[in-house]
Structures are given as structure tokens and as C-alpha cells.
Amino acid sequence: MSTVVTPGLFSQVEVKVSKKTPYLMGVFALVVLGAFGIFGKTETVAFQWSKEDDVIKLPDFLVASNLVGIVLGVALVAIAAVSFVLALRGTKTPLWLTLVFGLSAVIALLAWLAAGNSLPFAFILGNAVVLAVPLALGAMGGIMSERVGVVNIAIEGQLLTGAFLAAVVGTLTHNLYLGLVAAMIGAALLSMVLAAFAIVYLVDQIIVGVVLNVLVLGITNFIYAQWLTQDGLNTNFPGTFPIMPIPGLSAIPIIGPALFESRITTYLAYIIIPVLWFILFKTRRGLRARAVGEHPLAADTVGINVARTRFWWVTIGGLVAGLGGAALTIGAVGAFGRNMSGGQGFIALAVVILGRWHPFSASAAALLFGFSIVLRIWANQVNPGIPTDFITMVPYVVTLIAVVGFVGRVRAPAADGQPYIKG
């Protein structure tokens, strides 16, 4: 029974925006200002903007670590104050402001960790992008699935499948592009299973997702132990895609080398993200897909085939996620390792929610997580005196805080997770 309240008929009341965001921001801002600024380290940090082989080299920026902490800390406090004022006025903090906040906090943290050392900024940015690619592609696959109303917990399994097939097929065929295709097809097949179970058999979509993840992990572990470790050279040695700098664009200082000196997997991501946005919001197919995700019954009554729409979008989403998985192996380190995806599929799911099921916002969120993973790798090398175990936890803690603190109750596509039963 749909009760339709008739808004616009009633007198309006002032909207109260929750102060959760400004309070959290305030806490973090004070932590940054205090720990990294006022009580920060006094050693100099050398911000390395460029790498050795850059076309245009910028000189290093030398600054005291605690100075960075103080400056950024103050900026963060200012942003928190702005957010508070906006909340009082009844406006929600815009997403871009939250991202600026997050980015500044991360830079302050980096400056503190790098006290007395150099901070290879270009290197970090570049790696953040590379690490963000599987997350972003996984998230795109997740968005495609959830926008038509199918909850996709199996992104983790899709990434793992993609990583595995890319490495193994790439090695066996001595052709990385075949590995790429195999990765995409493998993940798409996994999607088809999810789609079939969720659409045709009406099984709880979350359970199917969890089960598929367990299954993929089991199968890849088995094959890894039984075959790949015995015969590694012939089965699990694909190498990686070559780095292909884009002439002209890669010469731009700082961001050039980071964004445009990359592998094909990254460039494919640059193409896929805007294309998905365009299809989803500007085309007929996208309108129908979104209709299916919001109100499948209504879509059915205008003649849209709900099952078929869901099936194809979930499957093609699998192709994209498979590409993300390939980016983990042949787009980064090469060989496949046990449980290669290590929870990144779930971080991708968090990215989907944080990005409000929108390709561009999700990509920005993926970049933020990419930073947090780089942090883990780089901080290990720099050895600042924090136990490595806590540094390892950073991406997960960030995800947790993001999902709990900044998301609240976002609006998923209205029919997300509900199977559609035809009469």
C-alpha cells in the first residue's frame, strides 16, 4: 500500500541538518593541528614534486614538518567551521569540500610521517592513481549492478577472478592482452551466476555474493597451491603491461607523470568512467536501467524487460570489474598471489556507497582510498616509529569511518536488493 504524502500542500518547517559532519571534521582538524602541527616534528620535509626522468623538473619544496601541520591544521579547522555554519543554515556540506578536507588531512599526515625525510609527492600521487584503478573499476561494476537493483557483494570475487585469469592466461598464452580479455570474461561469467541466482532464482542477493566470494577464494587457492606454486615459471609469470606515457600530457609538472605515465589498464579506466556516466544519465538505455533499479514494476508496465536489463547490466559490470582485477596483477605487480584482492572488493563497495552510486563521485572516493593504501606501503619504508600493524589497518579504518561517519543514510536505488517477481 503506497501512502503518498502530499508535500507542497503542507506548511514547511525549517530543515535541520545533522551536525555530525562538522563535529567529526572538527575532531580530525584538532587532531591534525595538535599532533602534526603544534606537537609535531620539527625536522624538514622535502616535498619532491618531480621524479628523475621527468621532462620538466620542479625543485624540491623544503619545509618544516610541523609548519605544514599547523598551516593545514588551521585550514582544516576553517573547513570544519564552514561546515558547521552551513549546518546551522540548513545546508549539507558539499561533497567536494569533504574531499578537500580529506586530502588536506592526508597531506598533513604524510608530512608528519616524512619528517627528516623526503616526501616523493609525484611518486605517491602516481601510485595512488594506480592503486585506485582496481577500486574505481570495481566500483563502476558495482554501480552498474546496483543501479539496476542488484546488490553486488561479489565485487571481491570478481576482482580476484580477474587478477587470477589475467596472470595465468597471460603467462600461458604469452600475451597480456589475451590475459586481459580472459580476466574480463571470467568476471563477467561470475556476474552471470550472480545475476542468474538473484534474478531467475530469487535468492537473497547478499548471500549469493558472499558465497561467490568464498567460492572464488577456494578455487583460486586450490589451483594456486596445486598448480601455480609447483610450476610458477610456466603458469604464473606474466610480467606487466608496459608503461606508456602520453606525449605532451605527461610533461605537465606534478600531475603529468602521475596521471599520464601509466599502463593501459589505467587509461582504460579514464575512458570507462566518463562513458559510464554518459550512458547512465544521458541515454535512453541508462534511463531504462535506472527505472528498473528504482521501480521495476513500473518499468515492467511500460514494456521494459526487467530481467533482461538486470542481467545485461550486471554482466557488463562484471566485465568492468574483471578489468579492475587484471589491473591488480598485469597492471601492477605481475604475478598472482594468494587472496590477491585482499578485501579491496569490499572497499570498492564502500566506494560505491560513498560515491552515492555516481561514477564521478565514486572515482574521487576511490582516489582517496588509493592514497590510504599508498600510505601503508610508503610508511613502512620510511619507518616513522608507528607499529606497522597499525599502518596496515589504515585503509580499513578509513573505510569504516567513511561509511559510518560521512555517509549516514544515503538513498540507494529504491529497488536495490529486491528481486522482481512477475505474476
Binding site: 586450490f222 569490499f346 563497495l349 600493524d389 580499513y396 561509511v403 559510518v404 555517509v407
Partner: protein, 412 residues
Amino acid sequence: MNNAAETPVVNRGNAVLKEILSGGATRALLSVLLGFVVGAIFMVFSNEAFLTAAQYFTARPTDSLAAAWTAIADGYSALFRGSIYNYAADDIVVAFRPLTETLRFAGPLIASGLGIALAFRVGLFNIGASGQLLFGALWATWISTRVSLPWGLHLIVAALVAILASAAYAAVVGFLKARTGAHEVIVTIMMNYIAAGILTYFFRTPELLREVDGGGTPKSDAPAETAQLPYLLGDQYTLHWGFILAIVGVFAYWWIMERSTMGYRFRMVGHNADAARTAGINVERTFMIAMAVSGAFVGLAAVNQALGARAGMTPDIDGTIGFDAITVALLGSSTAPGVLLAGLLFGAFKAGAPAMQVIGLSPEITGVVQGFIVLFIAAPPLVRAIFRLPPPQKSTVVADWWRSLVTKGGRK
């Protein structure tokens, strides 16, 4: 419907049979069977003898088939020898050890499976069993290695601490869900990683829980003798009281879910949270309490792992229990007897691993079988289609009879 045109059930015996065949227990059995079939396929295709013979399949098919059969037979007989009865052993004690190993492994699986099952029935997805287990094990290890208490008391205190710690860790998830609406799947998974990190840190730091005279790898001391779970069948076997705890857990679960009013409210929220709210139930608080109780059951598994050990422990003390618990709960349809049987089955898989390793079969194969069993369980129509079972029947003869047995005085 009030409509009169209902076809009367003609053959009662037929109807009952159909009802049984379309029911959950049958499907569970068949799903297990199918899982084993898939496992057999994997065994065959990873067997060297078969792969060699397959190359000349058309010339001499019998070689391939014989190799295939041998692969399957060797694989499953190894599983049997490792998990139930070692018929190849000389003395009777060694022969029965596999069964005790199965029970020992089954203990934590049953306990954590109960926890996940309870969460399922309240409508929650508790994917955080491994994190809850690690957190509980952390505190149990602290009590068992850094605190001295007399025998009996030491064990009890350590066990209680484990259960409470696991419950608290799980309650956080419930709290976050209630207060912020955070998606519990993501929260629990992140907390898994966080717990692992915390435990590793504690096991790595000498001042905290790292073993005395330890090296670089994170490892704790063995639990003090006064805190260890005593052996159940003497020193010949490593089966300890942890299994009994799990059995107690089964009865506790059954009583909570089927007999108690708290379990009644859990089930209500799980079926229809809106109606529960209208009936006066505080749904948010129910989520928190349910997660806490779920965590408490996982805590029983933590007790198993932390206080059943006889040597120092490493941060992977949870093994694969986290995800195994989910498969146990699913196969057991979130019921007490179901979880017990499913836990025993998957415990057998774990016990059989070394025996399979001996014949060159990677024990991960049981993970594959387990995964496929649960996949089949999760798709009733699929299994129905494969075996041409009848669809869910309108006849409720068997269901009513079972319900009248289980819920006292419910007969019409």
C-alpha cells in the same frame, strides 16, 4: 483466499511424500551430494595420471576413466581416513583419532555457525565472525598467559572474558547500524581486518602478549596449564572440552530461538521489522542485543581456539573459521540441529586435510566442495531442477506435524 474452487488432496500418502521431497532437509542432503560431485570433478582434473591419460583419450579411453576413478577414490578415501576412521592404522587408538579430530575441528565451527545463524534470523548479515573471534581470543590469551589464577577459576574467567569480548566487538556493529544506519556487511569486514591488525600488534610486542624469548614473528605464549581446556578422552587424543562447549551452545541456541521470548522477538524483527516496531519492539536495540548474542556464540569458538591450544598462538588463530561459519549457518538453514550437522561435516573436511595432503591432493579442495555445497543450498530451484523435485507444496501435513512437536500444545 475465500474462493471455493480448491482442488481437494486426493492421495494423502502422495502428498506427504511430495512434501518431504520438496522440503529443506532433502535439498540440503542433495546439495551436499552435488558438492561432492563437483569436488570429484576438481580432483580428476588436477590429477596428473588422469591428465596424462587424457591426452590419448580417444585411443584408450579406459585408461583415462580408470585414472579418473582412482583419483576420486583416492581423494575421498583419504578424506574418510583423515576424518572418520583410519582403517589403515595398526592400533585402535590411532584408528579412532580421525573421528576425534573431526569433533575437535567441528567445535569452533558449530559455535561460530550458531552465531552467524542467529544474526541471519534477525535479518542481519554478520560477516565479522573472524574479527569477533580474534578479539575474544586476544583477551582470553591475556588472561591465560599474563594472569595467574587457580585451576578451574582460571579457565572459567578466561572463557567468560573471551565470550564477553567477542560479544562487545559484535555489539559495536549493532550499535553503529542502529545509530548511523551503516551497512553491516562493510562494517564487519573492515572490523575483521582491524582486529587482525590489533592482534598481530599484541602478539608482536613483548610488553604485551608476545611470547617470552620470542623472535620477530608475532606469537604468543601457550596458555597456562591452569587455563587450558582439559582433554576429553585422555592424553591419547587432542579432543578437548571445547567440543562440549559447542554442544552446550547448540542447546542454548535452540532454547533461545525456539522457546524464549527474546528469541521470539528476534525472529519477529527478522521477518518483519515494521510490524515489530508497531508491536512495540525497539528494533534498533534488538539489533544491538542480537549482534551481542551472536558475538557471544562466536566467543565460544574463541574459547576453543585460545584455550584449546597447547602451544603459542599466531595471529591466524582464527583460520578460515570466519567464512566457514557463514557456510555452516547457510547449510544448516540457521536451525540448531542443522548447524550441528553442518559443523560436523565441515569439521570432517578440516580433519581430513592432512590425509589428503599425504596423497598429493591440496586440501583446499574441501574449500571448493564447501563453497559449491553452499551455492547449491542457496538456490533451491536450481537443485529442484537438477533432481526434478516437486515445488513447495500447499500440503502442510508434515510441516504441521513437525511444528506441533516442536512448539508444545500447538495441535489444533
